[in-house]
Symmetry: D2
Subunit: 406 residues, 4 copies
């Protein structure tokens, strides 16, 4: 155990990979909850960067509360239309007025910064969704509770204090099922999307493993303007199934069964057709922190933090930092130390103490056969220590958009 109160212990359960039943879910980029996560995080990055550019340090803000109210739409083969726009309210706190030590006064255009960030984010990822007409974006950023915290300057150096008693948890390595769910969605919304514009951004993937049988259920919004009829639609659905099956078999040797848009009823014409590529256009509301955890997944087999990671200030909001950091640590440990079958890193903060000195930092491991925790304890501990020492690096990478939060 180091000064940093790091413990390395055996975990009191099987590796998730070895449990009998495993459930994993990912709400893709275009799921209404993920849209909110994505915008909240974009707004956060834009505010942090604006503060750095103008004041030289990140001022107090927190924008982890975007609310999306679904619209209504009339999708149709060949191209339908949005009837009522989606309404998206960016909510949070941000410092609007600041006087530095020299008496220089700054008025920060937090509201327009937030709106531009939302506009740019939507433009980058949602080609079918027109900003301002298909989706109305409004903003309510109040001032915070008065204690402007000047904690993160360009010169950097000082480690901020924890703003709350909060808890972060990270896991590594991902199980096969987790990797399939994560990879499939990322590739569908990545390279696959480029060649297949008919596949919308709202892709939800559920993975269920019972023993060695993995069942992957995909709900993928199809964009109406790219499909002329039912035949096209079925082709798109088939395409997704084949693609996901390929991703899965690349990752696992277990039996994999992939289902796409299972609620479809072709005879009734009840299919998952959209105009904009997201169910937010018709009846599905969303908000921040209701979907994926910081590692991109919902994993009931694992400990999860309830904290919304997206949108929070990455300088001193411990709920955000510790979730991202614990995940980073877990991944580092697993990539550097052999013989770990499952690792859970938990960080518990203590209000008022520097964030690189958590109240508790525990690493719970399931070792591979033949390996004892004692064999690897020192290595693990050293890595945890090193990464904690480097905690402000997380802040920088979040602001630069290098770390995903959902």
């Amino acid at each position: 155990m180091t000064e940093r109160n790091i413990r390395v212990e055996p975990i009191d359960r099987f590796a998730v990979e070895d449990q009998e039943v495993e459930i994993v879910e990912r709400k893709g980029l275009g799921h209404p909850d993920s849209i909110c996560d994505g915008i909240a995080e974009s707004v956060s990055q834009a505010l942090a960067q604006t503060y750095l550019d103008r004041v030289g340090k990140v001022l107090h803000y927190n924008t982890d509360e975007t609310q999306l109210v679904a619209g209504s739409a009339a999708p149709a083969f060949g191209g339908g239309e949005v009837i009522e726009p989606i309404y998206l309210l960016i909510v949070g706190r941000a410092t609007k007025h600041y006087v530095d030590a020299d008496g220089t006064e700054y008025h920060i255009p937090t509201d327009t910064v937030a709106l531009r960030a939302a506009r740019d984010y939507l433009a980058e990822y949602f080609p079918e969704l027109e900003f301002g007409t298909d989706v109305v974006v409004d903003v309510k950023l109040g001032e915070g509770s008065g204690d402007l915290q000047e904690v993160f300057s360009e010169e950097g150096a000082t480690v901020p204090m924890a703003n709350d008693t909060s808890f972060g948890v990270g896991h590594a390595p991902l199980t096969e099922t987790e990797r399939i769910v994560l990879e499939a969605e990322k590739r569908l919304n990545g390279p696959y999307a480029t060649d297949n514009p008919a596949v919308g951004q709202d892709i939800k993937i559920m993975g269920k493993r019972e023993g060695d049988d993995i069942e992957i259920t995909v709900a993928a919004a199809i964009v109406d303007s790219y499909v002329e009829g039912m035949e096209d639609y079925i082709d798109e659905v088939d395409g997704v199934r084949e693609f996901v099956t390929d991703v899965a078999t690349e990752i696992t040797d277990r039996t994999v069964d992939v289902h796409v848009n299972t609620a479809d009823d072709y005879d009734e014409g009840a299919i998952y057709l959209t105009t904009t590529g997201t169910s937010a256009e018709q009846g599905d509301d969303g908000s921040v922190g209701r979907g994926n955890r910081a590692n991109g997944l919902i994993t009931p087999n694992r400990s999860m933090s309830m904290e919304a990671t997206s949108g929070k200030n990455p300088v001193n909001h411990i709920g955000k930092i510790y979730n991202l950091l614990s995940t980073e640590i877990a991944e580092s440990v697993v990539s550097e130390v052999d013989g770990i079958r499952d690792l859970r890193i938990r960080l518990l903060s203590q209000i008022g103490r520097p964030i690189d000195e958590p109240h508790v930092a525990d690493a719970h491991v399931v070792t591979a056969d033949g390996i004892d925790v004692a064999d690897i304890e020192d290595d693990v501990s050293a890595i945890v220590d090193r990464e904690l020492a480097d905690v402000t690096d997380i802040t920088r990478r979040v602001i630069d958009g290098e770390l995903t939060t959902f």
Copy 2:
């Protein structure tokens, strides 16, 4: 007097041109009230056209209630910024669901139609104002009171019934002072703007004539990104003064005195500098129907209707139609009949009667010296009768954007 209950009578006052004191005002294109008028009217045109395109007739709607809440901005020589966006709420009634005689069902995307109309209007006239970030536009269009009125079909023909007891009034010819005020704003926001992007759209012109002395007071928002310093600013103000003086002397032989941005205090640095070209960016709210009357002017020397003309349904909203029609009639009469020094046309509707049969249509004239009302009565009456018969033409021209409403 015809079947249409047309009266032609002497007016019981001097021609406005001959009154001792005359006051005229015009809120230019970029005044917050005019922005609302312009958007309300654009939304109205877009809805009417959408109904015609889809259903073949204009369904019930009324969108004469846009509300603008000012933002805040930090203008600066060389280019400042918007701090808090302008908020603009499009309010009104519109038919969203319609079943025609054949049982065909229509869902009209009234909200997205309205938002697109607002976006296009702002894009066309406000180059410095970015839709969705400098100005957030939201929409609340409810259904009306249930009686969907199918009154104006492509085949046309039937004249609708008046929906209200309402009053419209029009005047001709314009006085010199009126023409100066109207022309100066239109040209400043027209040809002059093209060459002088530093002059914003928010131009308010007040004309006051006492006897033969005309004083023109212009408040013109200057756009900060086009002026590097106070010298540039002063050049722009001088340019406006010269231009308006030229317009005035083209129109009148009276003494004209032109003042521009009289509230400026160069020593204090208190000048009319804006980032977007409108005072809506900083503290000036606006709404429909609070500014110019249908002829583009506020004229306390003349009878005015309180009706907001912009945004109303041009098919059967008698408050709109009669204000536009009475102005048209007045202009037609004056251009066709000699010897009229001042003419006021008033149309009073009666609920439930066809709109081409007003309860009262009276023409009050001030004749030129040597002309008697009796000399021209028949001619005037015939023109009023002809124009009333052609009332549905007003509707068509409004939908096509040929008639201005503010």
Copy 3:
């Protein structure tokens, strides 16, 4: 002519009482536009009083922009219900933060003051309309354009400067038709309402006089919970007609014809039945300054100011002060000077000059037979002068709610 630039002249028209056709309208207390006027003015009074109580002077504010978006309702004999609430947005500017000469800092709760004022106003005048559920009231009060004007202190004394070039106009005496329209609505919404709760607040009265025939058309919302069936409804309508007829015959000897709810069709069951007593519950939007002028009437036969009087700061907003003051002056003159058949007072401000020194103050009179303007000129001028000298009294009475603005 005094130092104050007061002119007394004959008006160049007949007295309105003697014109052939006269039109008068009043939108009663519960008309959507009047609801907005009433709330805007209540908010204004509450803010002014709050500033006086806390800071000792009225700070800069302007709240003349309330927007009402109609709800939807399902009225029914015996009691129906509101389906979608009315939405009411209080818009304007108000000083939220103030530092006085001693360095004492004040945070003024402008938003909650405004909401409470709206709540109290609705509670007082709209017994059937439940605040917060039948009507949602929100508020957007921004800061103004920065120049906090400290103009009206308890110690008073100094006369503020005009904030704009603006125009006010007042008339006296009212014609018979005007008095009938005004009195009928005030009594219906006053003593009559107490005994007849079935008559709602949304009463619109139109008066039309042609020669000596006066036609009064009343649209009166009937409250459903007080009428059990069509017979009750017809009784209520008959009651209103009789009451208005009595008011009219008390005021005039001319022929009077009173119509109530003329659009009703008993066979179709199409009647003016409401749940809350106002058409705002179903499809009628409203906003400030779109209805009655400062004297409570819309009078196309008379000069009218376009300024919204309700909601404006009564300390230095010249548009408000001059409309109220000119009406007060006209009434004073007529009550003190005999032989005036019609009087119009116009006040034109000049930016930056004290408001008791208007640029122009003209009194245009139509004298009674046998009286010459010269006979009364001095008396009129003296009264105008006296009232102008006393201009700050208007401010005090507005804040105390003694003057009505719509």
Copy 4:
């Protein structure tokens, strides 16, 4: 294993009570997230009851998305004030128009039902928070995705189909730490509040157990109008500490250390003083599903579902039903079967199958010393089976408000 696919198995970890480190948190009634949960659930109950009363069955709705935007306040000893109101937006889907089999048409006033539910909920639990002025409540309830599901009639009987693939998890018995955290908050906001109005509703309790040392950290908002000065404040804080200590020692024999309002700095005057009893008045935003899980706690040591339970339709929204039901089952099993030290019930639905036939229902137990899973397997299984068969009872109890959801 029964027809219902019920499995009873040993859990692969220690009982939470026996783990080395345990963390538990509860956001009390007045925490901004809990306010949203509470209102969302109240709205849900009110809608369900309205549908039952009018249509005889619960129609499609989902209201699990309330968003709270914090206000600003100026608390002060003896009584401060709210400066800017809290803004609360009720978001969701609800059936507004319904035609039953007989052709009878219903218009459901979903918006006013929701607003009234929010008003009543706030009035019941938040005595210091004035509806409509301290908190502005607005509502955006859209129609759903069109498939009106008529699933729960008064006659009942039919078990609805799962609307989604979703997962619920419940635990019993609670650990001592969990019971302390839960009980302390419930009693503080229950009996204690009655006698101590100075203690506001916003009470957040964090419990941390390391071995046999329990640390309870309470953040309790104190209401300013009940404390005249710092001494009073300290008395209130002391009172809370004593009360919570008593609750804790009643529940456990372990060492307990209670801290209250640890961030206070009496010298700086930085204390947790509020005007309304909740931090929502100043800077803390909130939304549904971000706080407590269905059992009232946040328990990182246990599996948790990400589903927001509050606000969801209790008839067929499987995410809600299974979270509540699994908790109920766990509690029933533990109360009826001896020898269970820790029990986790997981229910996994399958879209389109009746909700009483989950895809997986597994009971993972940690048995007491000397007890084998095999000894109790049949009893546990029978209870799970019985409770599943009775699933619609959950729906009824939720509608009646008998089950808490947060």
